[in-house]
């Protein structure tokens, strides 16, 4: 029982990550009809926003300390970040430690700008092109973005820790009357979960309750008619692309402490996010969220030893297995609409 509860918790957290990544992808799919293979790269760029901010905050001046030697026997150059010298030891290090949450403020404008630039500069010209061309161009773009990041940051993962206040875990088990240490959960993941819920909620509210969102939803349903009504749908699509990029970006920022960013992390998530979106059903935002949680929870269950001893290797394939079963029983995923990306 406690083990199951624990994995449900794990699954919810994993699911919120999946849902958040898939959300942006399905926005682009649904509104623009573009297969965006660069979406994983956007997620990666988000994570590197956190890295960049951390690097900016730790820009240092060097003071030679003749009493200590570096590895070559020369006097050691001690680096002190400017932030520390400006704000004092405690406050300065505090700011650096909070670089990941701060990076959200930094990432949102950056990612929106990147999204705008991508849509205006490249994607716009591919709306009427076959999906194959979209795949090739966005895949090429993803490689280029990755390689640029690799050129500046290297291939090694870069540690981007969460603020020290969030180290350690919260003991759910005690709340529910179990023994201590039975159901624990890291604080940062609770933050991630709450954050995802808020972002997902915001996106839904935006699409549901604003005029802008209404037009976009109408555009998703029938783009031609909306265009005929004299509404400038193109401009709105640009904004949607920026929004999708920002959602992917902040997902990346918040994920950075869980998964040290490296330049190819986007590719690792790309396939997964496609599977989530398609299982959820093309063009359906609630579907993507639902599928994210479903796959997250099932994946967590599959990692339990009790299950692995019956079905060895099940945790290796569970996501794909579930995807196959769902697509075979529900032709358009969980909540897909007819006719979207079916030809």
């Amino acid at each position: 029982m406690d083990a199951i509860l624990l994995q449900v918790l794990n699954g919810l957290d994993k699911g919120s990550a999946y849902a958040l990544i898939a959300l942006g992808l399905t926005l682009i799919f649904g509104t623009l009809g573009v297969v965006n293979f660069a979406h994983g790269a956007l997620f990666m760029l988000g994570a590197f926003c956190a890295v960049t901010l951390q690097k900016i905050l730790t820009i240092s001046f060097e003071v030679v300390d003749p009493t200590r030697l570096d590895f070559l026997g020369n006097p050691l150059k001690v680096k002190t970040p400017y932030v520390v010298s400006w704000f004092g030891e405690a406050a300065g290090n505090g700011i650096i430690a909070w670089s990941v949450p701060l990076a959200i403020l930094f990432a949102i404008p950056v990612m929106i700008a990147i999204g705008f630039a991508m849509e205006r500069g490249l994607i716009k010209h591919f709306y009427k092109r076959p999906h194959a061309d979209q795949i090739l161009v966005t895949f090429g773009l993803a490689i280029v973005l990755q390689e640029i990041i690799k050129y500046f940051f290297g291939a090694n993962p870069i540690p981007t820790p969460a603020p020290p206040a969030f180290t350690g875990s919260f003991d759910f088990g005690v709340l529910l009357g179990f023994d201590p240490n039975v159901i624990i959960y890291p604080y940062w993941r609770l933050v991630y979960f709450a954050f995802s819920a808020v972002i997902i909620g915001c996106v839904f509210a935006f699409l549901q309750f604003t005029t802008f969102g209404m037009v976009v939803r109408a555009g998703m349903a029938d783009r031609e008619t909306v265009g005929l009504l004299g509404i400038n749908i193109d401009k709105r699509f640009t904004i949607m692309f920026g929004l999708a990029a920002a959602v992917a970006g902040v997902a990346g920022v918040m994920y950075a402490p869980i998964n040290s960013p490296n330049y190819h992390m986007g590719m690792d998530f790309l396939v997964l996010s496609f599977v989530v979106v398609v299982v959820g059903g093309m063009g359906s935002l609630p579907g993507a969220v639902l599928a994210g949680f479903l796959l997250g929870i099932l994946e967590s269950f599959a990692s339990m030893n009790e299950i692995k001893s019956i079905l060895p290797g099940i945790d290796q394939i569970i996501i794909y297995l579930v995807a196959i079963i769902i697509l075979l029983t529900r032709p358009r995923g969980l909540m897909g609409r007819k006719g979207v990306m079916e030809d």
Binding site: A17, N156, T167
Partner: protein, 448 residues
């Protein structure tokens, strides 16, 4: 000998083929002019450095490449000579190898056995490389070693830690300087017992592929022999990035030590996440909970950042050692590149020197003669103390370092400190040890 027909680019640089416009068909037979694959006939000899340049291990590959370039410099008599000055064998004089200037070609393994073999083949077929070296994973090392055996060139393994490389997949043309999973276990277990006590329950998370399995098997055997018990061993998919569902049940399992048999990105993520769970601060069974990472690399330690503090693991070598060889190497590497070398770089540098030295001593590049010169070779001065290249399995035997994440690093390259230098005798094993059984070297293949 098998008739290897892997071809040579041969001699053209020197213009020794005078018959311009004349087609000279040479079907290779046993009577062919060349005595062995890619016999260098000009005044240069080409080595092939096959390292990951793209993919997750690209930075490790880059460091290996730096070490190779440094080694080539030193072999050709440029730079300060590095470990050539401290190496106990004095056959190398800085005029190349056997009087031929050392040239090199580079390739990208992508950490995929297919790509690595393609790259190695192009070096052999197109560039006339006489030796292939490098690699950053055991899968690639074993695959390229097999290729070199068939092609008739020497393979000097780079970073490969699986028992199989010199165990069931050993090859007569392949040589490994790096240590292996068994040695990690043998070196680490006594230190673990000394630090954490003999009454411990270990929980293993193991990367679900060959290296992970051998690493887990080795460390489990070594710790159990000293009184630890193993609570559980859970296999994690290689593609995992989120280990939370594997880490969460650890605390409730009765275990008080978590062993992460992961490498590279897997290790960075699983360690970071385990620390995020607060495992290091927990008390279980009245004891402080501990985390162990059997195989460390400097780059991965860097990737894990502060999470690594206080965590025990093992490495092949460390730039913080104080012997003459290490100091000479760190000095020339540090002067050239501005930061200290990783243990992957050291093994690659040492391998290049060992190859060159063996060629000098054998008086030939022929893989058979050269291999014989390496077999049973005892040497010192390359940073690892007295070392033996064992003839039975082409594995180097030397001291193993037990390392710990440093509490107060002075720079980003200073993440690890030496806890103990485990003497060679303690990590030695018989070539027939069950963890290494099942393969055989076969006979050396000079190709051609």
């Amino acid at each position: 000998m098998i008739k290897s027909h892997l071809t040579r680019r041969g001699v053209l640089k020197t213009g020794s083929v005078a018959g311009a416009g004349l087609a000279v068909p040479t079907i290779f037979t046993a009577s062919s002019a060349a005595a062995y694959t890619n016999e260098p006939t000009g005044n240069t000899v080409t080595l092939g450095f096959n390292v990951p340049q793209t993919g997750p291990y690209a930075d490790e590959g880059a460091d290996e490449l730096r070490a190779y370039e440094l080694a080539v410099e030193h072999l050709n008599g440029e730079g300060d000579g590095g470990m050539l000055n401290t190496f106990t064998s004095k056959a190398l004089t800085g005029n190349g190898i056997l009087g031929k200037k050392v040239a090199f070609v580079t390739g990208d393994t992508q950490t995929k056995s297919d790509a690595a073999r393609a790259s190695a083949k192009s070096m052999i077929e197109k560039d006339g490389a006489i030796m292939i070296t490098g690699g950053s994973s055991s899968g690639v090392a074993v695959a390229v070693q097999g290729l070199c055996q068939e092609a008739g060139v020497i393979f000097m393994a780079g970073l490969t830690h699986s028992n199989d490389t010199t165990g069931k997949d050993k090859k007569a043309n392949g040589f490994r300087h790096f240590f292996n999973a068994f040695m990690s276990g043998a070196a680490l277990a006594p230190v673990l017992v000394k630090n954490y006590g003999a009454d411990r329950n270990a929980y293993h998370l193991t990367a679900d592929y060959t290296w992970g399995w051998t690493q887990q098997e080795s460390i489990q055997a070594a710790t159990e022999a000293l009184g630890w018990s193993t609570v559980n061993n859970v296999l994690t998919p290689l593609a995992s990035t989120d280990f939370s569902s594997y880490i969460a049940p650890v605390l409730n399992s009765g275990a008080d030590v978590l062993v992460l048999n992961h490498y590279g990105g897997n290790m960075v993520n699983s360690l970071t996440q385990a620390v995020q769970f607060g495992l290091k601060d927990k008390m279980v069974n009245g004891k402080q909970f501990e985390i162990v990472v059997p195989l460390y690399s400097e780059l991965m330690a860097k990737g894990a950042g502060a999470s690594i503090k206080g965590i025990l693991g093992s490495t092949n070598w460390s730039w913080t050692l104080q012997d003459e060889g290490t100091k000479a190497f760190v000095k020339s590497f540090g002067t050239k590149y501005g930061f200290p070398p990783s243990n992957a770089a050291q093994t690659c540098y040492a391998q290049t020197l060992l190859y060159a030295d063996a060629a000098e001593r054998a008086g030939t590049f022929n893989p058979c003669g050269l291999g014989a010169a390496l077999e049973g070779f005892e040497f010192d001065g390359l940073g690892n103390g007295p070392t033996l290249y064992r003839a039975a399995d082409h594995q180097c035997f030397k001291d193993v370092l037990v390392m710990q994440g440093k509490q107060d690093p002075t720079s980003e390259y200073d993440a690890l400190e030496i806890v103990e230098v485990t003497p060679r005798a303690q990590v030695e094993y018989s070539p027939e040890h069950p963890m290494f059984a099942g393969g055989e070297l076969g006979s050396c293949n000079p190709g051609a």
